[in-house]
Symmetry: C2
Subunit: 335 residues, 2 copies
């Protein structure tokens, strides 16, 4: 399909040229929940697709208190010093309720947000986790088309958003503070299993020695927690976002991991992510279409009540509702 | 809807009367993948629904080597001695490939299988995990209608089948052997988090002392691995399936847990399970309907190829395919 909407073509052109304003407008379009906007957003993405994929996609997680913002700001500025352009995105479904618990406020990363080579975007709001993840994936593509070659995708360190982020990045960095092996125990186990790189922050001042001990402890804890068969031995590194030390080692760790993956491995990983993303999208939209179908909606409440009260077998209820949905000829739109 | 198919009405009657043959035929119907059988199976379940729900539903998991079969056989016979009727079911999606890796062979539990108060059924085959879980849930209802008041649902101790079983039982029992805290580390973390009761088997002969040490070690390991806020402190018990000792304690642990839940808590748990089951069923059937739609199928391969090769944005591909599916007026059946 050729896309010839002159507005979209122009927006794509400006975005490719690196216009922050065009990028902002494109993101607004992508994050919109309006049906006509969704269709145009997908057209815009298709126009820009050839310019995407040329970045290092890094997921960054850590519980509150590990100094995530300070790390991202200092590490981002370090990347810019090396000649890179950096986009910082966030995946935080809770921002829906709190109005932005992470990255809601650019003053958190004041220096980085003022750098012309950096672009900072808070988590999209008004979506479920699935919706936040989908929109963030699309914003990543927009940032790549706009010439950002390092994407830092931040998340909150609790719950399922980590998995969602791991499914959209090339590697996943877990940020910790100096502490005993108990620190790892306190984390959701799944998060440790997702990490490709562990970085102990705050290796400075009074905590410098503790950080070195923590590196050793985390290393042995990781050997317990991670399957031995892993072809990649997760390195545990340390840095100080405050004193801006250790960033070379972290960058080297990232490079090492990408080299261990290999370009074929990376391509395979990204292809699998794209395929899984398509199926996620289909599943979510199918559910939405089902729930928003007017004939289903008319029957759903009673069916759910009868099922939870044990008066209707769940399988029977599902079959009945599906039949109504699939026979419904009045359906027009999936939303 | 009144169900008046005389064959189904008769089958339901015989099953209520405790006929093993009727139960076997009903299970065959429920496990069938034929479309007309599915519809009749749901009708049968609806007929029997008033007679269901009167059992203690117990999930039992443990890695190979913990003596799961020996435990289930001896514990089942113990329940029968107490005047109960026991059905043993299995959830093992791998049986699809291996022809039954657990419970494929009744000679594994020879004594129990010969008891008239016991009913043993291997895992349904030819389904995905979702399908195995759904069919097992329905078989549980059939067994309840046939008068079995204790259902033991066995699973394999690796992977996702544990979660599926936890979502269909009142409580989940994890079987372990005497060993250090490392034993728990080796388990998939999620499984430990699902357990309501931990039982150390093989507390006999040379292992008797080791079992007592293991109980203490597992207790402290559980305190590390489980959230402290849990209102139920998971007890760690020991038994010997070989010497038939410790079963009273295990039964007491089960009773204690059900009492801690309370009858309202149990009802709420089962209602939530029924509701989730209905939605699982809807999701699975929606996916099946989508994938089996002839117009979707004609486009799917190319769309997937373009997405994985980075020529089509995943969201766009999903939208296009969904449009085709939802506009398709030739659809008749969800399968």
């Amino acid at each position: 399909q050729t896309i010839d909407d002159p507005q979209l073509v122009k927006l794509a052109e400006q975005l490719r040229g690196g216009s922050r304003r065009a990028l902002g407008r494109a993101i607004t379009l992508v994050e919109s929940t309006r049906l006509d906007d969704r269709a145009r957003a997908e057209e815009l993405l298709q126009l820009l697709l050839p310019e995407t994929g040329n970045s290092v996609r890094i997921g960054i997680s850590g519980v509150p208190g590990v100094g995530k913002s300070t790390f991202i700001e200092a590490f981002g500025l370090h990347l810019i010093d090396q000649g890179h352009r950096v986009a910082v995105l966030a995946v935080d479904p809770s921002s829906r309720r709190t109005g932005g618990s992470i990255l809601g406020d650019k003053t958190r990363m004041e220096l980085l947000s003022r750098a012309p080579e950096a672009f900072i975007r808070p988590s999209p709001t008004g979506h479920s986790l699935g919706g936040v993840a989908r929109r963030t994936r699309e914003v990543m593509l927009l940032c790549e088309a706009a010439g950002y070659d390092h994407l830092l995708v931040e998340t909150v360190g609790v719950g399922q958003s980590e998995t969602a982020v791991a499914e959209m990045v090339d590697l996943f960095l877990l940020l910790l503070v100096p502490g005993g092996g108990d620190e790892l125990q306190g984390l959701k186990k799944g998060i440790v299993e997702l990490a490709n790189l562990v970085v102990v922050n705050k290796a400075d001042g009074e905590l410098k020695e503790a950080a070195q001990r923590a590196v050793a402890e985390y290393k042995s804890a990781l050997r317990m927690l991670r399957p031995l068969s892993d072809s990649w031995q997760v390195p545990v590194l340390s840095c100080s976002a405050l004193e801006k030390t250790g960033f070379e080692t972290v960058l080297q760790g990232i490079t090492d991991h990408l080299e261990a993956l290999g370009s074929e491995g990376l391509t395979a990983k990204r292809n699998a992510q794209a395929r899984a993303w398509m199926w996620n999208e289909i599943d979510e939209e199918l559910r939405a279409a089902f729930r928003n179908d007017s004939r289903v909606a008319a029957l759903l409440e009673q069916a759910e009540a009868e099922v939870t009260q044990g008066r209707l077998p769940p399988g029977r209820a599902a079959q009945d509702l599906l039949q109504v949905f699939l026979d419904s000829s009045t359906r027009k739109d999936p939303q």
